[in-house]
Symmetry: C2
Subunit: 113 residues, 2 copies
Amino acid sequence: MNHIKWSKSEKKIAREAFEKAYERECSYLAGRIREKANNIRKSDDIWELHDFLTEKRKEVDDKYDYRYSVLDFVFARLTKEGWLEYDDLEGVAEERIEYMKSLLRFSKPNTDK
Amino acid sequence: MNHIKWSKSEKKIAREAFEKAYERECSYLAGRIREKANNIRKSDDIWELHDFLTEKRKEVDDKYDYRYSVLDFVFARLTKEGWLEYDDLEGVAEERIEYMKSLLRFSKPNTDK
């Protein structure tokens, strides 16, 4: 765990970046939902869309956890998955950004959105 | 409860009518889902669609109960809601059709699909 405190201005940047990533992911998800909805051909496709949404809702709820105690991990994950770029965190202490990057150093590349 | 037994040929008609009603309702539901999906403007619209699907899935699961002990009630409800017409049950004993109609006599008209 990182013990560097978030300054007031960093908290503002963090909140905005967090919202931006959430909007990006939801926008992408909306596209997938539209595609699935427009491809419903039989009743089972409806229930499959419901299962998909149930799973995604849980995933998004779990992922977007804005507690400062876990935020470095959240941001590291969001950049790994492509919902956030480090540029979105411009103004946050370089030391913290490096810490986030270090969290990913030994993780496998993400190929599945 | 109706104690007239379903004959073999009536069971075939009943099964087909049941499937037809289910397909009609699912087809209408698919249209509503497409409309909602194509109208997603913000993230909350995604979760609202999920809630809608959760509710509809439960409703459909509860409604489409193919046990002969409850089938008269199921068919009465399906005709009331417009998913089935008595013509779809042509070949089923008139006495049974009359019994189904009697089940609806004192129920309120359905205005909400």
